[in-house]
């Protein structure tokens, strides 16, 4: 029986995209389906930390070792997604000396460069650290953009022949006896790039092998074929600050606990996090205490956080897993290692494996292991090259060097655009068309927005994750509408309107958790711009009832500038 594709990957997060890239580069025909946007699950909802491994240097040395190895690889293959900020494990007076020592030794045992800094030296690195801190350990933590990394994997998979279908929700697994041979998906629109207000279709996609890389949702997929995948979703909050209060990753040096990390990320700093098991990865409470807890605990490390402005908070759901019978009650004790569940070995059902657990920094190594497994199943003999071949955008990082072309842009905009686009900068920014700035907060130009639209269709959230447009201080109040305007060259007015409404509502979702002080003022301004000036809340175009235009003031007769009546 011929199949539509050799391997079908479910899930467009870092794991799924990493697997799709690896398979495609090994010459395997692969199709990836994702129910929403790429990164829409857990990948797009993490704190953007590129682990040095220091975090696991005491509790899980195997993970720590893998982290530092992958950390180095990602700097090479995804330089345009990484900012090597360095990291500190900061000890406060009440934190244990013994643990500090264990952390230091653990780092050294795992090959993680680690150096002890005195309180004074620590504050030279990070002036806003609390004055009463004791000392710190300096490690090579970094910041990484999960959106760009994941999208770059997907683009590279496509460049190697893969089919990537976003907004394609799996509604059934196709199972014939003890063999899973594909899925049925519902396309939101299409198939193909998403276009709002376009009818979708259902499609059966058959495959030699199915890889369930849906993370926290893996249990739901498994259940479609009566397979138990005991994933234990655990939520964590992340709170985004308006500026980088720190330029280094700041970790609290204590065994475990919530609210113990600050990651500088692009123009912001991200506070994290909590760890609480939830029943349903799509429906869990996002609570005030979690946000307050971030600020009130992390201000012990960086006191200015108390008065600082947060621009939004978001929650992610970890796809934690532990083998049946382990019986861990506290989710913070569940291993961060990943598990490959071969349903043939495990359940006697052939044709599918599920991936659960794992963490973002080691996504590539996970993908390599899983791809090895799939290749073995398919009898494919090809070597993994994902650790050596740079991702699109990181082929030639000389573009970031000083003195290079600014493409007619003002220098801050040019610098930030080039950092985002890496080696694609020339292709995207070197245009004869005029190229105004669309998002002022993040310095995103029309050319970059249109490049993202070319990739992703009418979905402005997909444009957002590719470009950072609407992710700055104004949270889209000033630029959502301009982003939508850029869609109008390819899409009709109704589509543009639907896309704008969706983006604006998504921005509000996270902003709700930051509604006090400056950001409440910002929220009111955004509301006023969109409701008062643009009347988007009561747009007659959305109304069911036609407006009788003739009943309204038709203006003065011949309202010419001579004032004639």
């Amino acid at each position: 029986m011929t199949r539509d594709t050799e391997v079908l990957v479910l899930g467009g997060g870092s794991t799924g995209c990493g697997i799709a890239r690896d398979l495609a580069m090994r010459g395997v025909d692969v199709t990836l389906v994702e129910r929403g946007n790429l990164t829409g699950g857990t990948t797009g909802r993490m704190h953007g930390l590129l682990h040095s491994g220091g975090r696991y240097a005491v509790s899980d040395q195997a993970s720590a070792t893998e982290c530092i190895e992958e950390n180095k690889i990602l700097r090479d293959i995804a330089g345009h997604c990484v900012e090597m900020t360095g990291g500190l494990f900061v000890q406060r007076p009440e934190d244990s000396d013994e643990y500090f020592q264990e952390k230091l030794e653990g780092c050294r045992e795992c090959g993680i460069p680690a150096e002890v800094l005195s309180a004074r030296e620590s504050r030279e690195v990070e002036p806003y650290l609390a004055t009463d801190i004791k000392r710190s350990i300096k490690v090579p933590d970094g910041a990484i953009d999960p959106f760009r990394l994941c999208v770059a994997n997907a683009i590279d998979a496509q460049n190697h022949g893969a089919r990537i279908e976003t907004h394609a929700k799996v509604i059934d697994l196709l199972r014939d006896g003890d063999d899973i041979y594909g899925v049925k998906v519902k396309h939101d629109s299409g198939p193909g790039k998403r276009t709002h207000n376009t009818a979708g279709s259902t499609e059966e996609i058959t495959a030699e092998y199915v890889v369930n890389a849906t993370g926290a949702w893996a249990g739901q997929i498994g259940a479609m074929a009566d397979l138990d995948v005991e994933v234990r979703p655990s939520k964590g909050v992340m709170t985004i600050m308006n500026v980088r209060q720190v330029d280094t990753v700041v970790n609290r040096c204590r065994p475990k606990g919530d609210a113990d990390i600050i990651v500088p990320h692009e123009t912001t700093a991200i506070l994290g996090t909590t760890d609480e098991e939830v029943e349903d990865p799509d429906d869990y409470p996002e609570e005030q205490w979690e946000v307050d807890h971030m600020i009130d605990t992390l201000k012990e490390l960086v006191p200015i956080l108390e008065e600082a402005r947060t621009i939004r908070s978001f929650w992610g759901v970890r796809p934690l897993y532990e083998p049946p019978g382990t019986g861990t009650t506290d989710p913070t004790d569940i291993t961060r290692d990943f598990f490959l569940l071969d349903h043939d070995d495990r359940d006697g059902v052939d044709g599918m494996a599920s991936i659960v657990g794992g963490k973002f920094t080691t996504y590539r190594a996970m993908a390599e292991d899983i791809t090895d497994h799939v290749c073995e199943k398919l009898g494919v003999d090809a070597r993994c090259v994902t650790a050596e071949e740079p991702l699109p955008g990181s082929e030639d990082m000389s573009i970031l060097n000083e003195g290079m072309d600014n493409f007619g842009l003002r220098s801050p905009v040019a610098r930030r655009s080039k950092q985002r686009l890496g080696s694609r900068a020339q292709d995207v920014l070197d245009t004869n068309e005029c190229n105004p700035v669309i998002c002022q907060c993040e310095g995103v130009t029309r050319a970059e927005i249109r490049d993202a639209i070319d990739q992703s269709g009418s979905d402005l959230n997909a444009v957002r994750i590719r470009t950072r447009a609407s992710m700055g201080n104004c949270q889209g109040g000033f630029c959502c509408h301009n982003m939508a305007n850029e869609l109008s060259h390819e899409y009709d007015e109704e589509t543009v309107r639907a896309a704008l409404d969706e983006l604006f509502q998504e921005r509000w979702k996270g902003e709700r958790h930051a509604l006090w002080g400056e950001q409440l003022s910002q929220a009111m301004l955004n509301y006023a711009l969109h409701a008062t000036t643009m009347n988007r809340d009561n747009d007659p175009a959305n109304g069911s009832k036609a407006v009788d235009f003739g009943a309204f003031d038709g203006g003065r007769v011949k309202a010419r500038t001579d004032g004639g009546e």
């Binding site: 006090w516 409440l520 006023a528 409701a531 009347n535 009943a551 003031d553 010419r560 004032g563």
Partner: protein
């Protein structure tokens, strides 16, 4: 020694200026103190009175039909319908030819840069030819360097909204704009001074020439609101002569030239009426003298020096959340200057609803006035006998949803100014 006036207005937006003008009209000595740039430059320059009821019914044709029905506590209910009418007349006198719409009580439906229409009571004369309630075919012109207004999209949106005319949009290059990120004021100045764009042709002729190729049988042409800052009438007249059709402006987001022009008109009026204006300085504190229910003087921070300002009557016109006349912390919402009572839920997660355009409690944050517009404390007693509050700092209404911001500022400013003046020396 303290600076002495009869009436001191704190805040220089539409409400504060109106209050100052109304008080000065009564022959009192008025001072207006402003700190930051007013939020007028964020505003479209349209003067809304009431476009939708608090229940979301609308668009309303005649706001005066609905004003009587507003719930107790709404600023319009506090001042009464007649005051709204008087305040609009007062505004019409102050702005003269710069604004239109005063010939009728009815709202006009005006196209804005978002593409759809909004109901409004007064509009700049520059916008008058463009009202969507007039069934005239329309050409909208956008500029490729101005991403805030996409003319073909806006035209399609007007049709989707049911506008009773054919609308078409074109995007052109603005003659003389060299930088892709030129500010709107750059466009305006090119036209104001009719700068030469190629050594011989002036900007106005060059723009008209660029548009005329696209003009078919439309009887009016709409541009984003960049048609001059200092000489908008001349610019528009020249364009109309060159094109042979009516020309209008589509109100835009910030920075908004119509908002800045309104600011200029209002500040000229303050000067004419002898209002003393002190700008760039914050009021940081107030003092009472014996009677805790009466403000004796306020303290202005002038470059670090505390300068007492004394008046008989005070008007609080510091704006809402945007203007920072209402502030908040994680634990609560407050009026930062006089600590007037601002009702709000104890739990900040009750300050909002999940639908971005839903019935947002935060949009109604502000002080609670009595019918004299004196802010009330938690027990419904006036906080001070000689303090009135106007405009955005007032609570109990959602100006964005109702499209009522301009009218509330005018009517409460007008009433507070008149009453404060009358009370001087009592």
């Amino acid at each position: 020694m303290a600076i002495e006036d009869d009436v001191l207005v704190i805040g220089g937006g539409l409400a504060g200026v109106t209050a100052a003008l109304a008080a000065a009209d009564e022959g009192t000595q008025v001072r207006l103190v402003t700190y930051k740039q007013s939020t007028l430059r964020h505003a479209s320059g349209l003067i809304d009175v009431l476009g939708y009821t608090p229940d979301g019914e609308g668009p309303i044709v005649d706001p005066f039909d609905e004003l009587e029905e507003l719930p107790e506590g709404h600023p319009y209910e506090r001042v009464g319908v007649d005051a709204v009418r008087d305040a609009l007349e007062f505004f019409d006198d102050v702005v003269g030819d710069a604004y239109a719409g005063g010939h009728t009580d009815d709202n006009a439906l005006v196209p804005t840069h978002g593409g759809t229409v909004k109901p409004t009571a007064r509009y700049p004369s520059a916008t008058a030819a463009g009202v969507a309630s007039a069934p005239e075919d329309t050409l909208l012109v956008g500029f490729e360097t101005l991403p805030d207004f996409e003319a073909p999209l806006a035209a399609a949106h007007l049709e989707a909204a049911g506008a009773p005319f054919e609308a078409r949009g074109v995007t052109i290059t603005f003659p003389g704009i060299k930088r892709d990120d030129a500010k709107v004021t750059r466009y305006a100045h090119l036209l104001d001074w009719d700068e030469s764009v190629d050594g011989t042709t002036g900007a106005r002729d060059a723009l008209a020439a660029a548009v005329s190729d696209h003009l078919e049988d439309e009887s009016r042409v709409g541009f984003p609101a960049v048609l001059g800052d200092d000489h908008p009438e001349e610019v528009r007249a020249d364009l109309e002569d060159a094109l042979g059709v009516e020309v209008f402006e589509v109100p835009m987001g910030p920075p908004s030239l119509p908002g800045m022009r309104l600011e200029d008109v209002l500040y000229s009026a303050l000067e004419e009426k002898g209002v003393r204006v002190t700008s760039g300085v914050p009021v940081v504190d107030y003092e009472t003298n014996g009677d805790p229910g009466r403000i004796d003087q306020v303290i202005v921070d002038r470059n670090g020096a505390d300068v007492p300002h004394h008046a008989d009557q005070y008007i609080l016109a510091t704006g809402g959340l945007v203007g920072k006349g209402v502030s908040s912390e994680r634990e609560g919402v407050f009026e930062p200057l006089f600590d007037c009572y601002v009702p709000h839920a104890a739990d900040r997660y009750d300050w909002f609803v999940d639908d971005v355009f839903g019935d947002q409690p935060y949009a109604r944050f502000g002080v609670v006035p009595d019918t004299e517009l004196r802010p009330l404390d938690e027990d419904d007693e006036p906080e001070f006998s000689n303090l009135r509050a106007v405009g955005g700092v007032l609570g109990g209404y959602d100006y964005a949803a109702e499209k009522s911001g301009g009218g509330v500022s005018l009517s409460t400013g007008y009433v507070a100014g008149k009453r404060a003046a009358k009370q001087v020396g009592e």
